[in-house]
């Protein structure tokens, strides 16, 4: 009895694996995306049959152009070889029918038919998407790295698009803090885009995961990004927007997150900063405000525990222990320097300031050369950065939040 059940399981497994090869082949055909996939599956739910029946079936669902592409693809590749190639690169192909397929993603209105996965898939625990402008300010950089670090330390999975700017910074900070992060790409999982994030890409492969709904070798195209964004928000329980211009791509992701019923949190900015326009607009529309990692994590855990039917009070009690400091602290090295150094450091902002602006804000008139020396010494102490020759800003690289004690949550 037990034996036959095991056999049954084995057979099922083999069956599934076989079907997977054909699904993978079909999903890898250029020009065939989720919509076409649905059409084909509606005609015939068995992917192997779809492959075997060939043109007869295909022409019922595909356009002329797609037919050409699938014909070419069928001529050049076969499902077995394609799938083996995938495995050789340690890439998994997970379809919606698999148990591994992220539950959160399955629940969104238009989940992708399948995902190519390099590394791990997001686990059950809470996960948060951190998104924002590619061209971010020092302020955005600081906040994004702070959030990434807090989430990483707090055992929250960070989901993002591995883009330049906010995305990559938060993911990198999460990994650095020992957390887990997942990058969802608008290209194939074997294509690192942008190339400048190569190091992060490798780290994500090793310690988190790279996900994509696009076949291997797909180049990053502008039109791939909006569909990608729905996966980013779909994989998360909540979304944090760090910096966004008005009418930017980030806001599209926010719309998708709202459609999917996710909580949206926004990092507020100054009304004078164009890079915060999108965020402030969202606040006006009623988005949640990100005040501090502590505040955010409390909300997140409460929601999480609530949804998962556990005692609501626990989150509150535990999170009160999270000590917090969203302010930039004066590096210790600076406290050892002269009062003038400390004053100059105090005047500096995360936004770059020109030498003349800095000079204008000091209590006493300072000679240009004197001031420059002080600033260069601050740079040397890694307390400031020279953004370009005439501009200086506070260094945000090591945005310091105090250690977050969250172990008791688990």
């Amino acid at each position: 009895m037990g034996n036959s059940k095991m056999n049954q399981n084995m057979m099922d497994k083999n069956e599934i694996e076989r079907a997977r090869k054909y699904a993978c082949w079909l999903y890898s055909v250029p020009g065939i995306g989720d919509k076409t996939m649905e059409k084909l599956l509606a005609l015939c739910p068995d992917v192997e049959q779809i492959y075997r029946m060939g043109e007869k079936l295909w022409q019922k669902a595909l356009t002329v152009r797609q037919l050409e592409q699938i014909r070419d693809f069928a001529r050049e590749t076969n499902p077995e070889a394609l799938y083996q190639g995938l495995l050789k690169q340690n890439i998994r192909f997970v379809t919606r029918t698999d148990a591994d397929y992220p539950k959160r993603l399955r629940d969104i209105p238009d989940p992708p038919y399948a995902l190519f996965v390099k590394g791990k898939l997001p686990a059950e625990g809470p996960s948060v998407a951190v998104i924002g402008a590619r061209e971010c300010s020092e302020y955005g950089r600081f906040v994004a790295s702070g959030i990434g670090k807090a989430l990483g330390e707090g055992g929250v999975q960070v989901i993002s698009g591995m883009a330049r700017g906010i995305d990559g910074i938060s993911q990198d900070a999460a990994l650095e803090a020992g957390g887990i992060s997942f990058g969802v790409l608008g290209s194939g999982v074997d294509v690192c885009y942008p190339e400048s994030n190569r190091e992060l890409y490798e780290k994500l492969c090793a310690r988190g995961g790279i996900l994509s709904a696009y076949p291997l070798g797909t180049e990053a195209r502008a039109r791939n990004f909006p569909p990608r964004n729905r996966i980013v928000s779909g994989l998360a329980d909540a979304l944090i927007v760090v910096e966004a211009r008005h009418k930017s791509g980030t806001l599209i992701t926010v719309d998708m997150a709202l459609e999917q019923g996710k909580d949206v949190y926004v990092v507020p900015g100054r009304v004078t900063d164009r890079l915060s326009d999108g965020c402030n607009y969202l606040i006006k529309q009623g988005a949640g405000i990100f005040l501090s990692p502590e505040d955010f994590l409390r909300d997140l855990w409460e929601g999480w525990l609530g949804r998962n039917g556990e005692n609501k009070g626990t989150g509150q009690a535990i999170c009160s222990e999270i000590s917090d400091a969203m302010a930039l602290q004066m590096p210790e090295s600076v406290t050892r320097l002269s009062p003038l150094h400390r004053e100059v450091y105090g005047v500096l902002d995360l936004q770059p300031m020109s030498l003349e602006q800095i000079r204008g804000r000091l209590s006493e008139e300072q000679g240009l050369q004197q001031l420059m020396l002080v600033l260069m010494e601050l740079c040397m102490e890694k307390a400031a950065v020279q953004v370009s020759t005439g501009y200086f800003a506070r260094r945000s690289g090591e945005g310091k939040f105090d250690k977050i004690h969250i172990e008791q949550l688990h």
Partner: protein, 510 residues
């Protein structure tokens, strides 16, 4: 009858003596010219015969042969008209044989016999003086330029008849026929007055003013980044003023180049101010570094001992900018042409200006929406090897209204120049007996010798190296600039503050 007349032309900026040999012999009437002649020289035949006819000397109905020796040097320029005409007249025995002895002739003839200005008179006269030739007859328009050379009498002539009369006269009468022109070069140089462009007119931009001062002191190349209207060109135009005035030797070099290029104004004796060249970004490679089938000095040679200011640097064609690599390294331009190799001096200070990004407002992220990639792409238009040769980078910010209004006008040009001269004197002493002239020239292997650091300073450099993540190249550039800053301060040793200040002007991209 045969005779020979001394003349010459310039190859590059070097004088090359040419003997004009004329022979008139019985035979079928003809006029032949030989001796590796370029077109404009060959045309001389027509000009000379018509001009001579028009002043009353018809060519004899005999065989006239003119040879320009040495025959293997390519002759170019229009300066041979006068010596050819004189040679023919002598061969026709209009004046005694020894009348042309010890005289160098240069000049282009008009059809009515008048003498027109030619290029390269200064280098020719200079070489003649060095060779011990006593007299030189040149067109009146070029006489002043020749007249700055001591040890040779330069006669300015209006037309060929005057020259003939001069040659027929004896030594006393000669002074009444032609004017001996002599110019006191030293007086000219000290008399020069500034043209009203003064550093005190630059509002704010203290950092850029300081960078200009350092650049001038060590002859470092300078790059100014800043939004439109920040005053980049304004500062660039004031840099020649803070450089020490041209010395006589330098002035002669510069004037020589301008003379060869035909850019001296009529009657101008010397270039007395530091050159300032401002090529437009559509400039061609040949125009910038020189060359062409008729080789002339390019803009960088015209900037010799002065400034070549390239505004909107990324707009220049990449190949054009790249062609400056070798001249920036060797301070001269080598041109290899089918006709031979030429060398033009080109020791200039490169001052560049560009916007920090395509829109011009980076790093003000409120106004600048350029992506990192766009900025990188924009900056990459300028090739690395050129950027490597620019020691000082400085960022200008948009000028705010109050700095325009309370013009806390900076120091005047004269005061800055005093400091620059001080630093220059220190460099002259330091580099005596070496091939160097300025701190900017110091090569890596000589860093230890000229820019030694104390223990404490070495530690500072280490900290800088790590704190600012410098590369080895930038490290050396900081040392050179620090050397100049120390010189400006009159300090023998490079100290911490000099290093830090120099580091502030390091390139902001790698």
């Amino acid at each position: 009858m045969f005779c020979k007349i001394l003349s010459g032309s310039v190859v590059g900026v070097l004088a090359c003596f040419v003997w004009v040999e004329v022979d008139i012999d019985s035979g079928l009437p003809s006029f032949a010219m030989v001796g590796s002649l370029k077109n404009e020289v060959r045309e001389s035949r027509e000009r000379v015969s018509v001009a001579l006819k028009n002043v009353g000397f018809a060519l004899p109905a005999s065989r006239v042969t003119v040879n320009l020796a040495p025959a293997d040097v390519r002759k170019e320029g229009t300066g041979f008209d006068l010596p050819i005409a004189v040679g023919i007249l002598q061969a026709m025995s209009y004046f005694p044989e020894d009348a042309t002895k010890d005289i160098l002739f240069l000049g282009e003839l008009g059809l009515n016999g008048e003498l027109k200005s030619v290029r390269g008179v200064l280098p020719m006269v200079r070489a003649a003086a060095a060779k011990g030739i006593a007299h030189c007859i040149v067109p009146m328009a070029n006489a002043a330029e020749g007249g700055v050379i001591p040890g040779i009498t330069v006669w300015g002539a209006e037309n060929v008849s005057q020259v003939l009369a001069f040659l027929q006269a004896d030594a006393e009468e000669r002074r009444e026929i032609l004017t001996a022109v002599s110019v006191d070069a030293e007086a000219l140089l000290t008399k020069q007055n500034s043209k009203g462009a003064d550093f005190s007119q630059v509002c704010g931009q203290a950092m850029a003013r300081r960078a200009a001062e350092i650049a001038a002191a060590g002859f470092h190349n300078l790059l100014m980044l800043g939004p439109p209207g920040a005053g980049k060109s304004m500062i660039a135009r004031r840099i020649p003023g803070i450089l020490p005035p041209l010395t006589l030797e330098e002035s002669l070099e510069v004037t020589g180049i301008y003379s060869v290029a035909g850019l001296l104004e009529e009657g101008q004796a010397l270039v007395t101010t530091r050159p300032f060249q401002n090529p437009h970004h559509t400039v061609s490679r040949a125009a910038l570094i020189g060359g062409n089938s008729h080789p002339r000095p390019g803009i960088i040679s015209l900037s010799h001992r002065g400034i070549c200011f390239m505004d909107e640097l990324p707009e220049f064609a990449r190949s054009v900018i790249d062609s400056m690599r070798q001249p920036l390294e060797e301070h001269q331009v080598h041109l290899a042409r089918a006709g031979g190799n030429l060398t033009y001096p080109a020791e200039f200070m490169l001052v560049c200006a560009m916007n920090p990004c395509p829109c011009g407002y980076y790093p003000d992220r409120n106004r600048c929406k350029c992506s990192e990639t766009q900025i990188q792409h924009y900056r990459n238009k300028v090739s690395g090897p050129i950027m490597d040769r620019i020691d000082l980078w400085v960022e200008l910010h948009a000028v705010e209204i109050d700095s325009l209004q309370n013009a806390d006008s900076g120091e005047p040009t004269s005061r800055i120049r005093e400091r620059v001269e001080g630093a220059r004197n220190i460099q002259r002493e330091r580099f005596a007996g070496t091939s160097y002239r300025f701190n900017a020239d110091i090569r890596e292997e000589d860093m230890e010798r000229f820019c030694p650091l104390g223990e404490e300073e070495k530690k500072v450099m280490e900290q800088l190296y790590q704190g600012l993540q410098l590369s080895a190249r930038v490290y050396h550039r900081i040392l050179k600039v620090a050397r100049t800053i120390a010189d400006l301060a009159g300090e023998e040793h490079i100290r911490k503050e000099h290093l830090l200040e120099a580091a502030a002007y390091r390139p902001s991209q790698e």
